[in-house]
Symmetry: C2
Subunit: 251 residues, 2 copies
């Protein structure tokens, strides 16, 4: 088996485009991972040296594949990334949907291979960070090290959400609320957004059948809780939605 390179470097990383490196991340509106979670300014300028703008990846284009050599993590700068694995029977299991500002590849560190696939669900741009370089930098910048520890730690608990044995209604409600919160945190409307993934993808994420997604959406629409037409979702009654999700969402 030949080893594949994972997220490829580009010849001409954006961070090296000009001398205006500091401005770069400040205008990278979605890089919450860099800007809003604890990096201070001195860190930021050092980070720029190793940031590379990658993309665009187009719909269904792979970003990395299971088994690829791990060499970099990446923050989503635009678009949505789906991570997934195939079990032995070939069934796809969706691990997560990653919105702008979120980091992918953290689960690859311990094996030095990506343990899952990542594809673009729409047009995706990434900030690539060479992990060896980042780790080296982190030994000099305790704040960066802390931030990495935090990001990693955060991901551990993340999937505890959908791990429980909750009803289809509860899981779908929680899924919508979760999306709502994440969009809101990124400056989008929390009540009106487009699902960038198919029903089948949602189903594979929530461990339900696609038909169940349809049916629950219809039930929620009949109950005046949401309005959904194709990919367009409007959350009408957060009260009721929260009630449905009770038990799943924490804090």
């Amino acid at each position: 088996m030949t080893s594949r390179p994972g997220i490829r470097q580009v010849a001409n990383p954006a961070a090296a485009d000009d001398g205006d490196e500091f401005r770069f991340c400040s205008t990278c509106a979605f890089s919450h991972a860099c800007l809003s979670e604890g990096y201070d300014k001195s860190m930021l300028s050092e980070l720029h040296v190793l940031v590379e703008h990658i993309g665009p990846f187009h719909m269904n284009e792979p970003i990395f594949r299971e088994g690829d050599d791990f060499n970099a993590i990446a923050a989503v700068r635009a678009g949505t990334v789906k991570t997934f694995i195939h079990d032995i029977n070939g069934n796809e299991h969706v691990l997560g949907f990653h919105l702008p500002g979120e980091v992918i590849g953290l689960n690859a560190i311990h094996t030095s291979r990506y343990p899952c696939n990542a594809v673009a669900l729409d047009t995706v741009a990434l900030c690539r960070f060479s992990f060896p370089k980042m780790a080296l930098l982190a030994t000099r910048l305790p704040g960066l090290q802390q931030q990495l520890f935090r990001l990693l730690s955060q991901d551990i608990g993340k999937n505890a959400l959908l791990a429980g044995d909750f009803s289809a209604d509860a899981r779908i409600a929680a899924f919508l609320i979760e999306l709502s919160r994440r969009y809101e945190a990124r400056g989008f409307s929390p009540t009106r957004f487009n699902l960038v993934m198919t029903r089948a993808d949602i189903a594979k994420y929530l461990r339900l059948a696609p038909e169940t997604i349809s049916r629950v959406f219809r039930r929620m629409r009949n109950g005046g809780i949401i309005n959904v037409s194709q990919r367009a979702v409007v959350l009408l009654d957060m009260q009721k939605l929260n009630a449905l999700a009770i038990g799943i969402l924490r804090s």
Copy 2:
């Protein structure tokens, strides 16, 4: 709400008992987290300064509680630790069972609070590591930093195992195989061990009813796959057991 201290320090940490610090961890047979996963010897001697032997904790004794201040991670030195949360309805969800050599508390870093409870299932001894001190040390020891990254990264994927929608048989088979492998890695028999947790705990971990655990155990016994009497388990036919778990276990 008063803040609680999490894993308490002891007045007289074992590592400071005498000058024989280096021998200490080498004879700590279960500290795989320290010994067998990449720490080199120079690291080891530095680590001893901040290791504290904690315990014993007795059955059902809490080690930390959800909401406690996070200040330390800990490697299980002896016994088994159960981590769990209560959802809003008061239902318990078991996050994991932690055998000797495994590390608890990693999911607490990003909130600086423990996001779950940990109790001793039998008599438990721990190696406590102050996390601030460890992180500081990690800035000087890149190998230690790497090891922490790896441990954290490893925990991210860990629960993907039971996250899928698999049959009760598949999940229970996978649970037994998983235990078997972990015991084997720690020098115990992979085919003959005691379940230290109740059926109810297994159920809350696997998202099944306790009755289902009983029934599947019986079916497996009838099929000559395992022998189980109370807590004592013998794995008789790994072939069939693996077949049942197909799709869940990876690599």
